[in-house]
């Protein structure tokens, strides 16, 4: 019954490889996000999708490409992985409340990516 599920939970890979992280939500939310949390715990938004449409792209290198096949799924593909990509990546979703205001985010359990 997991509301926002991400796979894999852990990912260890070599520099230069390409990898994907998958995210699915069963909450019926319209908006989904990818956040990156670095070693200092800082949460930084990467992308936001609303009903499969990209609405936020926060100066993320174009090696990162999100894909939303439907509003319940938001995947993240990363090409040519670099050491600095090591972090925890969180998927999240949120409802739209009255006046189109964002509701509380529900986060997935995170994917810990380690690039060696």
């Amino acid at each position: 019954d997991t509301a926002v599920s991400q796979t894999p939970k852990y990912l260890v890979t070599q520099m230069g490889n390409d990898k994907s992280i998958k995210c699915e939500q069963n909450l019926g939310h319209d908006t989904m996000y990818w956040y990156k949390q670095d070693s200092k715990k800082f949460l930084k938004i990467m992308f936001s999708y609303n009903n499969k449409e990209l609405i936020i792209n926060e100066t993320v290198p174009n090696r990162f490409s999100p894909k939303s096949p439907d509003k319940a799924h938001l995947n993240l593909h990363i090409n040519s992985l670099e050491l600095g990509d090591s972090a925890v990546y969180f998927c999240a979703s949120s409802p739209r409340l009255r006046g189109a205001r964002l509701g509380g985010y529900t986060f997935g359990s995170g994917t810990r990516l380690t690039v060696v």
């Binding site: 996000y33 956040y35 715990k41 800082f42 949460l43 930084k44 938004i45 936001s48 609405i55 936020i56 969180f90 999240a92 006046g99 189109a100 205001r101 964002l102 509701g103 509380g104 985010y105 529900t106 986060f107 997935g108 359990s109 995170g110």
Partner: protein
């Protein structure tokens, strides 16, 4: 872009003492949200504040939104070991995204 500062960065308290974290924005906010992240876990939504001067309580937790809607605070009364974690504010200037504060890491000394 929007900047959200959170203080303190770390707080160590004796069990039973109170704890407060503050969130300050450089711009007027539409709303603010608070989250708790346990060690090794993911952020969990606690509450959303929308109105100027709003105060909300959840058991031992008290949340406030400033009159000018540029700052907010989370106060925990009589901390317990289960309160350990990092507390984040998430600020929204409009309807598109939250900008998270830098977080306050709370540790409890039993």
């Amino acid at each position: 872009g929007q900047q959200v500062m959170q203080i303190p960065q770390y707080q160590h308290v004796q069990e039973g003492e109170d704890f407060t974290t503050y969130c300050n924005s450089s711009t007027t906010l539409s709303n603010i949200q608070w989250y708790k992240q346990r060690p090794g876990g993911h952020p969990v939504f606690l509450i959303q504040l929308v109105k100027s001067g709003e105060v909300k309580k959840q058991k031992r937790l008290t949340f406030q939104f400033g009159e000018a809607k540029k700052n907010s605070s989370l106060h925990i009364t009589a901390t317990q070991t289960t309160d350990v974690g990092t507390y984040f504010c998430g600020a929204s200037g409009g309807n598109e995204k939250l900008t998270f504060g830098t977080g306050t890491r709370l540790t409890i000394i039993p």
